[in-house]
């Protein structure tokens, strides 16, 4: 993939991750997570400007690539609208308007739910890296953030390690959520 496509890919992945984080912030009425969404929206803005510059360069150098240019512009606009929607969900939390109990219930009852779990000393997750655990493959749950002491790790990668005491926030199907919590507290092991 060339530079334009790589940037669009990053934009897409970021926007989808922002939506997950935004719903998490809403579920727990958590302003710290909501602030991260707003921060990421800033990054999305910068990335969008870079994409725009690149599109202009391509347009100047290869006007025959007009089809590709139109597609890139349109795709970028749609993806950015998704990031904007995520920011607007986070905004509800930041403004202190996320208290309505129906908000949390509707996220909990969704097909894709969100849950959190604290990793116990005896958990088979403790001391492992995400890449080795393949949590998503084993229980459908995808960890979107970790709270360790007072700080967060957002969007852990394959090399991110899990430590006892970590609080994992994950999204996935309801059927996977209970097994995920059992893994974290050590009742089940992989």
């Amino acid at each position: 993939m060339n530079r334009l496509e790589s940037m669009l890919l990053e934009l897409k992945d970021t926007s989808e991750f922002m939506v997950d984080l935004a719903y998490s912030s809403l579920l727990y009425n958590n302003a710290e997570i909501a602030e991260e969404v707003v921060f990421m929206y800033g990054a999305v803005g910068e990335l969008s400007s870079k994409i725009q510059d690149t599109i202009m360069e391509i347009g100047a150098e290869k006007p025959e690539d007009i089809g590709r240019i139109v597609v890139a512009v349109k795709l970028q606009t749609s993806i950015k609208a998704i990031a904007e929607a995520a920011r607007s969900i986070a905004d509800v939390v930041i403004r202190g308007l996320g208290e309505h109990p129906v908000l949390a219930m509707s996220i909990r009852e969704s097909e894709t739910t969100i849950t959190l779990a604290k990793v116990s000393e005896g958990s088979s997750l403790a001391g492992k890296r995400f890449g080795d655990l393949r949590l998503s493959t084993n229980c459908g749950m995808f960890v979107i953030a970790i709270k360790r002491d007072r700080t967060y790790v957002f969007g852990p990668g394959r090399d991110t390690g899990i430590e006892a005491g970590d609080i994992l926030i994950a999204k996935g199907p309801v059927e996977g959520a209970s097994y995920f919590r059992d893994l974290a507290d050590g009742t089940e092991s992989l």
């Binding site: 710290e32 597609v71 349109k74 749609s78 969900i89 908000l103 709270k147 059927e175 919590r181």
Partner: protein, 231 residues
Amino acid sequence: MSDQEDRASLDHIDMSVREILTEMKDTSEVMVDLAYASLMYNSEDMAVKVRELETKMDELKFAIRFKALMSSRTRSDARQLSGLLQVASSADCISDAAGDIVELLEVSPEKRPFISDLLYESDEKIRATRVSESSDMVGHTIGNLAVEACTGCRIIALKNRQGWIYDPEGDVKIRAGDDVIVRGTEDGYGRLIEFATGARPWEFPDDPEDGDEPPSVEEEAASINPEEEGE
């Protein structure tokens, strides 16, 4: 209010605000998956489904506004409900974005080859596979198998002898020869293929009824939120 608008609100009068919001969240998410899948597989049918869902979202949005405004009595109601309506409207924006993405189908595939590459590399992958006769999945429903919990792949579309089913419900039964389009990680797709080809026996999840009751949202929130200073 015109009669037409009144009917639009009555359409969903049996659903509570909570049910509408849940439905809007679910629908907006599946629309994005289907929109990207339509570009990947150059499927006009999927695009049609996305547009149908977009219309449904518009109705849900109207119904939730109507119901929220009807139930607002006090300043505090208005505050809380305004937050709720902003979330509903954000879900609607996501569905509109999905609607815009399917418009790219009008650009000829030669002009948008990079989209498939891009979607192929994305964190959330869209892939397709066929269920073979020897697969353990055959004869079971999607819900029974808990496909997403066991593989991390969610079935977003399924083609059987009757045709395509988009965003199939849990009660849809898998049959030999069905084609499924899924959204998930590369790893999970690898696992799904093993199940679908029959190379690996399906590992049925424990009875979901056995599952522990999830902790309440308040309990969970208390473990990550800073303690509130008395209000």
